[in-house]
């Protein structure tokens, strides 16, 4: 190994208050898992026993980068936080990704990652600078929202320039399952990683840009690969660069927009159109991430409506706004941006809570839920003030908010009656919030993803095709073959989760470019110095990490029944519009089984076959998977 990696890990034991450095795993392990989610999952699998609950101090919170993070490859801003996911009953290993500058700054301090274990007795934060780390008192910061925390930490360390702060908000502190970690005011690592940080009483990790160069094995060739990558992406961003950080509105995209608990695709379509057009009038200030000219992060000044004068700092696509506002039927543009920013400030991911909010409001509107069960709250579509109140109640687990914080499935059970038939969820949690009923493969992807519903599992190439996987653009109505397609795309997606590049900004359109996998392989080869790293290895690494996660999940009790546990509303066909009648339900089991078989997993249980694990060099997982009783459930 000659380059790409900074060279060591930082281990933080919050129980003893100690920080120490340790070498990276062997070259062989690095090549098998690369970094990001891969290395994170490998560490969780090694260090967190099957009976340890997500919020137990013995759980690990592993911050990792990839060998490409902080380099010149387009959008190499990715950093990952991997842990046992609190959602899904602590059954899976999940890797959440965030961007901005944090990951690159960490590597410039000489660290490829941070392994956090134990729990602090009192609120604490970690500051990394000049290649060193120190734990500091966060008592005065505890309780602040994520944006306030970033500012307060920078003040506390003495206004040191070029400091990037990743922090939790009230949701993480209150152990809300959907709590996220937010950084650089605009970015977040979602899917519940914030509550694990909260359980450890770790309020923030501040990283000041460090003084240690990141080595590159073959700088000349790496420059060429970077340039080629850059040229391939140029002009094909999903996000129009340096201009308007707005959701793309091409083709049939409106029908992917959700709102009002997935009950009204026409309203959602109108929501998207209205908010996109109206917010065009607001001044937008794009901001890149590390080496990313495709600024999906932006500040935006609300100039009209009740929140005129508010400056929101956002990133990504429309997913967050669909969750923060549309699911509650709120569509006033300034309020949409305000609520989206509010959810970030509270340190929440929109997916899970918004599916609970949407369900509750729909049930209330239909008389299934009444004031007796909401603590006196009257829930109506489009009530912005109530929506804000609900988000705050969720973050602080107050009153009815404590129910919603448990997620849509539990909220449905609490409401009772017809509610369980009206709910959107995947394994009890919220999916990534678009209306995937127009994209059956993505519903299946959310369902079978070994990390639970998240992007790792679900970005298919359905309409785009992926030449490197041998797929032409697919007809969404054709259900056959989608399981096989998903197996390929998930392997590739999982690789995109280990190398240190943000797929959202950089790669979406590269996937339809022939040679994309080779380019990824060459970036690793030239950065690290594994000259023979091939495009086959790209998929193999992705497959290995998926299998590791799958085995870990099964050992913790994950079953095929869990994969089939999807809220009915999430599969109900549209009744109007371009996708009216597209019905995944009759095909679901077949598609999932096709996926299992394509993965080399048993059709009956989705259990990785011994030969699959052997082929991937995961022999040591065979005995525990087949010998021990499944589901040594954490308490």
């Amino acid at each position: 190994m000659k380059g790409g990696y900074a060279g060591k890990f930082l281990r933080v034991d919050l129980s003893s208050g100690s920080v120490s450095e340790e070498p990276l795993p062997s070259d062989e392990i690095l090549r098998k898992y690369i970094g990001g989610l891969g290395l994170g999952a490998w560490i969780i699998n090694n260090e967190v026993p099957m009976n340890v609950h997500a919020l137990d101090p013995e759980n690990r919170l592993v911050f990792t980068t990839g060998p490409i993070t902080g380099t010149l490859i387009q959008s190499s801003s990715d950093w990952t936080v991997t842990s046992v996911r609190h959602e899904l009953h602590s059954k899976v290993i999940h890797g959440s990704h965030s961007h901005g500058y944090w990951g690159a700054f960490l590597k410039l301090n000489g660290f490829d990652g941070i392994i956090v274990q134990g729990a602090a007795a009192s609120p604490t934060y970690l500051w990394i600078h000049d290649g060193e780390a120190e734990l500091r008192d966060a008592s005065g910061i505890w309780g602040l929202d994520t944006h306030e925390t970033e500012d307060a930490v920078v003040v506390d360390i003495g206004m040191v320039a070029e400091t990037s702060v990743a922090a939790i908000g009230p949701a993480g502190e209150n152990l809300v399952e959907a709590a996220s970690i937010e950084n650089d005011k605009m970015h977040s690592a979602s899917k519940g990683m914030g509550c694990i940080m909260g359980a450890k009483k770790l309020k923030a990790i501040a990283v000041t840009r460090g003084p240690y160069p990141v080595p590159i094995a073959n700088p000349k060739e790496f420059l060429q690969v970077s340039l080629e990558w850059h040229k391939t992406v140029e002009g094909t961003h999903v996000i129009a660069h340096a201009a308007r950080a707005r959701p793309p509105d091409a083709g049939d995209a409106p029908y992917f927009t959700t709102g009002k608990n997935f009950s009204d695709p026409e309203w959602s379509k109108e929501f998207r159109r209205g908010v996109s057009e109206e917010s065009e009038k607001f001044p937008v200030h794009p901001r890149g991430c590390w080496a990313c000219p495709s600024p999906c992060a932006y500040g935006i000044d609300v100039t009209t409506g009740p929140h005129a004068g508010y400056e929101a700092t956002l990133a990504g696509g429309f997913e967050n706004s669909e969750g923060a506002a549309a699911m509650a039927g709120v569509d006033e543009p300034g309020t949409v941006l305000y609520l989206t920013d509010l959810v970030d400030r509270l340190g929440l991911d929109v997916g899970t809570p918004s599916c609970a909010i949407g369900l509750a409001i729909e049930c209330f509107e239909k008389g299934i839920l009444t004031k007796e069960k909401t603590g006196g709250l009257e829930l109506r579509w489009g009530d912005a003030e109530m929506t804000e109140k609900l988000w705050r109640m969720i973050a602080y687990k107050e009153g009815f908010g404590a129910i919603l914080a448990e997620g849509p499935k539990k909220t449905a059970e609490y409401i009772g009656g017809e509610a369980p038939n009206m709910v959107v969820h995947v394994k009890g949690s919220g999916p990534n919030l678009h209306d995937w009923r127009a994209r059956p493969s993505i519903i299946v992807g959310q369902a079978v993803c070994p990390a639970g519903p998240c992007w790792q599992g679900s970005l298919g190439s359905e309409l785009m095709g992926e030449p490197d996987l041998g797929f032409e653009p697919q007809d969404p109505w054709e259900m056959k073959g989608k399981g096989a397609l998903l197996a390929g795309t998930q392997k590739r997606s999982t690789f995109e989760d280990v190398n240190g590049v943000c797929w959202f900004a950089a790669n979406i359109n590269m996937r339809r470019t022939p040679g994309y996998h080779t380019l990824m392989a060459r970036s690793i080869a030239t950065a690290v110095g594994w000259d023979d790293f091939s495009h086959e290895e790209v998929l193999e690494v992705g497959e290995r990490v998926m299998n590791l996660q799958r085995v870990y999940g099964i050992r913790r009790g994950m079953t095929k029944a869990d994969d089939l546990d999807i809220g009915p509303r999430f599969m109900e066909p549209h009744t109007t519009g371009a996708y009216a009648g597209l019905d995944i339900r009759p095909h679901l089991v077949g598609m999932i089984e096709e996926f299992y078989e394509s993965m080399g997993w048993s059709k009956e249980e989705g259990k990785p076959l011994p030969e699959t694990l052997k082929r991937l060099g995961l022999d040591d997982l065979i005995p525990p998977l087949y010998a021990e009783p499944a589901g040594s459930k954490p308490t």
Binding site: Y101, E150, V155, E162, T163, S164, R209
Partner: protein
């Protein structure tokens, strides 16, 4: 066609030639110097002595310079200017020649002060300024083991640096309580002193040399305190003065140096002066000053050359700009370094060998002392100083943000481009 006569053959003179030629191809240019040879830089003598460069490399331009710029050189001891006839517009040389001019640039630089103490002119007691001086010191240093340097200013410090680099056992004697009284502040001087002491330099502060005696080639320096220091060789580096002893009768106004305006003109029509021999108004302090530094020489020379060539031009900058590298540590200073008189010094960096002190006059930045990494900001701090802006935010912002950010912010504000620019007190900067 005009005839321009330039006296001198170093930075001020050669810069004047180069910029004069940018606006005038055809005028006649005569360059007169008492030293025979192509242009060299007195600032390089200590680099030569330290072994960083060869003797020849001090000569930063070769003879082709004169040809390239169509200059007639009159070089050598016989060509030394002995008198200026301002009324008759001619200079008289040592060999009796009279050289007429339409305009004249005096860029004769400075010369070493030789103290009038007993033994100040003994063999083996040397001064350092010219290339010839440097050659003599180099010769003496071949055999000398113990070297005493008298004087703690820029030349003294650089000489010590060179002698340490050559493995000599060095004693340095300074009258004041610290070294670098001009180019550093007291704390900066202390940092440098400490570094020299660390490598074994015997530094004697607040000591004056009373006399020097020779005992079988050994020099014995007797200090005012009565202490004695033995040395194989002594370098007197007590300072330089303008080299202007030929001005008598010319009517040129002198106040320590030849007084020039911002066009490098003296009080006498047709006569310019530039560089170490000139006294000009410090753009920051407003006081008449003699800058014996390259940046002043080149700017005076540039402006003189353009004006002589027919393009009326005022200089853009005139402030103290120093840099030196004792023991490999980059050091420098910009503008006014003295506190008091309503000036306040704020040390914003002082760790790990790095040091940055900013000097403010109210809300206006007037100077900076820089050691180590902060020196990289020297040029930008100079720009900020030269902007002469009174900005209440500058003081606090320079403590967090970089000089570059403040420079951009102030320029943008001045141009009305981005009045809201604020140094981020938040996350990244």
């Amino acid at each position: 066609m005009k005839r321009h006569v330039i006296i001198g053959n170093s930075h001020a003179a050669t810069t004047a030639v180069e910029w004069l030629r940018k606006v005038s191809d055809s005028d006649e240019v005569v360059l007169i110097s008492r030293e025979d040879g192509s242009p060299y830089s007195p600032a390089l003598t200590t680099y030569y002595l330290s072994g960083k460069m060869s003797y020849e490399q001090m000569f930063y331009l070769d003879y082709s310079f004169y040809k390239k710029h169509n200059v007639e050189p009159l070089l050598g001891a016989g060509k030394a200017v002995v008198q200026i006839d301002a009324a008759g517009k001619a200079v008289t040389l040592a060999d009796g020649t009279s050289v007429p001019y339409d305009d004249l640039l005096i860029a004769t630089g400075s010369k070493s002060i030789v103290p009038s103490m007993d033994g100040g002119r003994l063999p083996g007691v040397l001064t350092l300024w010219t290339a010839e001086d440097a050659r003599k010191i180099d010769d003496a240093a071949q055999t000398a083991k113990r070297v005493t340097v008298v004087g703690g200013g820029l030349i003294g410090i650089q000489t010590v640096n060179a002698m340490v680099a050559r493995g000599k056992q060095v004693t340095q004697i300074e009258m004041l309580s610290r070294v670098m009284p001009v180019a550093m502040d007291a704390d900066g001087g202390k940092i440098i002193e400490a570094r020299y002491r660390d490598v074994g330099v015997d530094l004697r502060l607040e000591q004056r040399v009373d006399r020097i005696e020779d005992s079988n080639g050994q020099k014995i320096l007797t200090l005012a305190s009565g202490d004695q220091v033995e040395a194989d060789m002594v370098v007197m580096a007590v300072g330089v003065v303008p080299n202007i002893d030929f001005l008598d009768g010319a009517g040129i106004k002198v106040d320590r140096g030849i007084v020039i305006d911002d066009h490098s003109k003296t009080n006498v029509e047709g006569i310019y002066a530039a560089g170490d021999c000139a006294a000009s108004v410090d753009a920051i302090s407003g006081e008449l000053s003699v800058f014996a530094i390259i940046p002043a020489a080149t700017e005076h020379g540039r402006v003189a050359g353009l004006n002589m060539g027919g393009l009326p031009t005022a200089r853009l900058r005139n402030l103290g700009l120093n840099s030196f590298t004792p023991l490999g540590v980059p050091c420098g200073s910009v503008g006014i370094l003295d506190e008091g008189n309503g000036r306040e010094g704020i040390i914003t960096v002082n760790s790990g060998g790095d040091y940055r002190k900013l000097i403010f006059e109210g809300d206006r930045l007037v100077g900076a002392v820089l050691i180590g990494k902060p020196l990289d900001e020297g040029g930008l701090l100079a720009s900020l100083i030269e902007m002469r802006l009174t900005d209440p935010k500058l003081k606090s912002e320079l403590q967090q943000g970089s000089a570059a950010m403040n420079y951009i912010r102030l320029l943008a504000q001045e141009k009305g481009l981005a009045s809201e620019l604020a140094i981020p007190a938040r996350w990244t900067s």
